[in-house]
């Protein structure tokens, strides 16, 4: 059984076709990456998978449940790291985790020890009582990662997890993601960084103008098209820009 399967997934925003009949499946403990230029439809796919917006047509299943009919049951088992910082600015670092746990019906006596554990994992223990506005960009991303793990998700959806981070912070996040993958968490991510995709992903889907151009392992893509992943990417995308 696949963790995610999408068949003929299509999404319209009014008359704009943001996602154009794509098919893909993602297996357990796999790390799968969506690559593509801005506006290719990656974020839309992520949002459909974590049941934020419904697909216009097609069949989308997560844990073998339909995203349209079972959003709460699906969301209970996934973690989401969105592109934008949406931490609660009125709450402290620790409170952000505990309040977030409540949405999953995790009572404080369970969420508090877990929150401390996660703060250790993302190296923010000493920042527990700090306000969000006093965190650096890298710390905020790490806290969002910790928050996405509060319900012990089987699937982690990461929308540009390291955009805007310095190289050290980026590698720090990679290290956490590798650790999670080794613990059987399925990872689905979007990125603009080809070295990130190479470093983390078992398979990548390259998207352009709402379609999947190719799905394969980074290694066989590089072998087939020659050059590194960035060169492959540049060769296969940008149709909309060139036309």
């Amino acid at each position: 059984m696949h963790v995610i399967s999408a068949t003929h997934l299509t999404k319209y925003y009014n008359s704009l076709r943001a996602v154009d009949g794509i098919d893909f499946t993602i297996g357990r403990a796999e790390c799968f990456g969506f690559l593509g230029p801005n506006g290719a439809g990656k974020t839309t796919v992520m949002r459909i998978l974590y049941c934020f917006i419904p697909p216009s047509s097609g069949d989308v299943r997560v844990f073998d449940m339909d995203v349209k009919t079972n959003p709460s049951a699906i969301k209970a088992r996934i973690g989401v790291m969105p592109q934008e910082d949406n931490l609660d600015p009125d709450l402290s670092v620790l409170e952000n985790l505990i309040v977030y746990a409540r949405y999953f019906d995790i009572p404080k006596r369970q969420s508090a020890p877990l929150a401390w554990e996660l703060l250790d994992f993302v190296e923010l223990r000493e920042k527990a009582g700090v306000r969000i506005s006093n965190l650096s960009g890298g710390m905020k991303r790490r806290l969002i990662l910790a928050r996405s793990l509060i319900n012990k998700p089987e699937l982690l959806i990461l929308d540009e997890p390291t955009t805007g981070l310095d190289p050290h912070s980026r590698r720090n996040v990679w290290e956490k993601l590798r650790y999670l993958k080794a613990r059987n968490t399925t990872l689905l991510l979007t990125t603009h960084y080809m070295e990130e995709a190479e470093a983390l992903c078992d398979r990548v889907a390259i998207m352009d103008s709402g379609r999947i151009v190719v799905i394969d392992t980074p290694a066989s893509l590089m072998k087939e098209h020659g050059g590194n992943l960035e060169e492959v990417y540049l060769k296969l995308t940008g149709r909309a820009l060139r036309e």
């Binding site: 974590y50 934020f52 917006i53 419904p54 959003p71 709460s72 049951a73 969301k75 209970a76 989401v80 969105p82 934008e84 910082d85 949406n86 931490l87 609660d88 600015p89 009125d90 709450l91 409170e95 309040v99 977030y100 409540r102 949405y103 999953f104 019906d105 928050r147 319900n151």
Partner: protein
């Protein structure tokens, strides 16, 4: 929609509020007392009595109504908008088992809670000033939940359709302020052109003021139709905040 998940959203707002209440509670409580002092004592020195009641005592029950209205409206206009648009709190919440309908219900219930809280504080304050003649005033408390829901519903509906935060100027200038001034808080509407009374009849604040004033003077019978009006409107408005928010956020 699930009440438990809506409660989680309510609980989030409550948690944040308990951290910030010192500043906001004080402000919300100072303003109505200023109205009471300035108008009740200042204007009251000239007006003296309305319908045989000392002026300050005439306006006091209305201040319960207006305070509770302001509390719900601020919460579900600026408060909701900031959570939705600037803080992206809604996006964070919607990535959890909480769905959009739960979220909207949680916001409405929180708005009603603020209404209840701020209205109740004013009941306490004006009672301490000796401006309330009847213990029936306590019956206003459940009514504040209903009217608070209506003010929250109207505010969330507006929040769902505005293009940007500046549009609230229209809401405040064209809707809230006229409703506040012509709801019968400061003067009876009988002497104004009949059109004013007719328009006032269609606003929730007018009915809430009637109920507060009736109960403050121990007259329950006068409030029946106003209560029916509020209950009917809360039910009538029920689907719209959900429908319009869904349209705004998801479509």
């Amino acid at each position: 929609m699930q009440c438990k998940r809506a409660f989680r959203v309510w609980q989030r707002n409550f948690t944040v509020y308990t951290k910030l209440y010192k500043s906001s509670l004080a402000l919300n409580f100072v303003e109505p007392v200023l109205y009471l002092a300035a108008l009740g004592l200042g204007l009251g020195a000239f007006v003296r009595e309305i319908n045989g009641v000392p002026y300050i005592q005439f306006i006091a029950p209305g201040i319960i109504a207006s305070s509770s209205m302001f509390a719900a409206i601020y919460e579900c206009t600026y408060g909701t908008y900031v959570r939705m648009k600037y803080q992206k709190t809604f996006d964070a919440i919607l990535a959890t088992p909480v769905n959009l309908d739960d979220l909207v219900l949680g916001e409405l219930l929180w708005g009603a809670t603020k209404s209840l809280l701020y209205g109740s504080i004013i009941i306490l304050v004006i009672s301490l000033f000796g401006l309330i003649k009847s213990p029936l005033i306590l019956l206003v408390i459940p009514v504040l939940v209903v009217s608070g829901l209506i003010f929250s519903q109207i505010s969330v509906i507006f929040t769902a359709i505005i293009p940007g935060i500046d549009s609230y100027n229209y809401f405040y200038t064209l809707f809230m302020t006229p409703m506040f001034l012509f709801s019968g808080i400061f003067f009876p509407l009988d002497n104004l052109p009949p059109l004013v009374t007719k328009i006032a009849f269609f606003t929730p604040l007018y009915h809430l003021v009637n109920i507060c004033r009736g109960l403050a003077s121990g007259n329950m019978a006068l409030c029946t139709w106003d209560t029916v009006w509020l209950l009917a409107v809360v039910l009538m408005l029920f689907p719209y905040p959900f429908r319009l928010m869904r349209k705004r956020i998801i479509e």
